[in-house]
Amino acid sequence: MATETKAPAASPAAPATAAAIGEPAWARNLLIALGLGFIGLFLVLPLVAVFIEALSNGIGAYLAALHTPDTLAAIRLTLLVAAIAVPCNLVFGVIAAWAIAKFEFTGRSVLITFIDLPFSVSPVISGLVYVLLFGAHGWFGPWLVANNVQIIFAVPGIVLATIFVTFPFVARELIPLMQEQGTEEEEAALSLGANGWQTFWRVTLPNIKWGLLYGVLLSNARAMGEFGAVSVVSGHIRGLTNTMPLHVEILYNEYNFVGAFAVASLLALLALVTLVLKSLLEWRFGHELAVTRH
């Protein structure tokens, strides 16, 4: 991210300035050691531990642990939930950003605050609110029971909770980006005879595609990895309402550590792929993202 600004050696004043605004070598090395040591202890070591624990009985045991019906069902459910939740929030994010970024109206900043709300709520509360609405003793519970619709302890509840926790990602990336791009290009397209849809597909969308991908990447990682919110609404029925993170918990509590860490290693791989793609996007298309431009 940051490029080190070394004082140019050619400038005559440089040595004195560098000494005055830099730290002595020992302090520099001490700070680097402290920073890297902290990251190594708190970030790298847990990550390494996941893979070592998963492979502790060899690659055969690792693959066997993954190839069980319950684990495969958990993987399928996680993919299904992300495949529903992410597109929902993608559509919402684009439409909300269109209204908020391209038009002036009162109450805009209140709306942005509301969109950010799910980020400031505990994951457990994100699940709790849906139980309060749709649970057996919830507001709509009796009606749902009478009509034989199950939301809580079933897949719809898991999808709802996942949509809630990933709600802001796409919108909060697109709003500042589209605000910055303004409306001139769209106005030009319209004045040249394009209709609204053509303008959106041919002008707006190409302008925001990398930002959109960035938002989708982050919401997908969260959707597949969410634990607290999903845990509250899932009911933990093996093979039916268990997502991968929940399956990690079940296997861990059964002392099936190889199984638990094998599933955890898949999620850790997902996190690593997400980080690599995120860094690539920031590095290659940083000027077309809102996050990297403050």
Binding site: M1, A2, K6, T17, A20, I21, L31, L34, G35, L36, F38, I39, L43, V44, L45, L47, A49, V50, E53, F92, A96, W98, I100, F103, F105, T106, L111, I115, P118, S120, V121, S122, P123, V124, I125, L128, Y130, V131, L133, G135, A136, G138, I163, F164, F167, T183, E187, L190, F200, G225, F227, G228, S231, V232, P245, F261, L272, L275, K278, S279
Partner: protein, 279 residues
């Protein structure tokens, strides 16, 4: 859709189409997914009445859980404020091999599912784990104690501090430091009197974000905490327990208590920042 147009008058008329439908859809989706469920959270404890709410919120087990959640979050956020600032400083000011990799790694807690972090930290700090084994002879127990909660919250909170301090540190004008130096300030004086005040608002913001995240954190904590009532049981877990007993109003009451305390703490931090800016 006309209703919205009248309700939220457009200041500058725009030639772009689709404002009404877009805003209408956004408001409807927002209301169904976010606002209505949160309204249920706020209204549900009302059936207990105010005295009932206070009775739930002051149960010894609830008080202990709230104390642990907020106490551990404060300690973890303080640790992250110190080390997060060092990490941000090192990433902005120094060059060393693998710097880009370290920079990307800082976001790991954002990307790694919390349950994975939870089992990994527990494996490390359990009495037979890599780190737990080293600490046990010293008489330090981390896993299954409140200390374990702090460790998990340090993991979760680090990127908040680094990512808020880093851009401010990057935009800091080096000439001011040179000016301080040329006026005879020692490097230490420059850091304490010039650089620190400039990044303090960002540091406070990062601290507040890490704190807020820590209070609500669930997945990474429940594995390492041991979850002993009154000792190492966090407030979000208590919500889950009350829900399992179908005590919906009680669960909502704990949730509202958590959110209210968080809100007051963030308000205080916000005021601190304003006060700092006023000086």
């Amino acid at each position: 859709m006309r209703v919205f147009a009248r309700f939220l008058p457009r200041r500058a008329p725009s030639v772009l189409p689709g404002f009404g439908p877009a805003l209408g859809f956004a408001l409807a989706y927002l209301s169904i997914i976010v606002l209505m469920p949160l309204a249920a959270l706020v209204l549900r404890p009302a059936e207990l009445g105010f005295s009932g709410f206070v009775a739930v919120a002051t149960q010894p087990r609830v008080l202990a859980a709230l104390r642990l959640s907020f106490g551990a979050s404060l300690i973890a956020a303080a640790i992250n404020a110190v080390f997060g600032m060092i990490v941000a400083w090192v990433l902005v000011r120094y060059s060393f091999p693998g710097k880009r990799l370290v920079d990307a790694l800082v976001d790991l807690p954002f990307a790694l599912p919390t349950a994975v972090a939870g089992v990994a930290l527990t494996a490390l700090y359990a009495p037979n784990g890599w780190i737990g084994r080293l600490l046990q002879p010293l008489g330090i127990e981390v896993a299954f104690t409140p200390l374990g909660v702090v460790v998990a919250l340090v993991f979760i909170g680090l990127p908040f501090v680094v990512r808020t301090v880093q851009p401010v540190l990057q935009d800091l004008d080096r000439e001011v430091e040179e000016a301080a130096a040329s006026l005879g300030a020692s490097r230490w004086q420059t850091i304490v009197r010039v650089i620190l005040p400039a990044i303090l608002p960002a540091l406070l913001t990062g601290f507040a974000l890490a704190l807020a995240r820590g209070v609500g954190e669930y997945g990474s904590v429940i594995f390492i905490a041991g979850n002993m009532p009154l000792v190492s049981e966090i407030a979000p877990l208590l919500i889950v327990i009350k829900l399992e007993q179908y005590d919906y109003a009680g669960a909502a009451a704990v949730g509202v208590a958590m959110l209210s305390i968080s809100f007051v703490m963030l308000l205080i931090l916000n005021l601190l920042q304003r006060w700092h800016r006023g000086h």
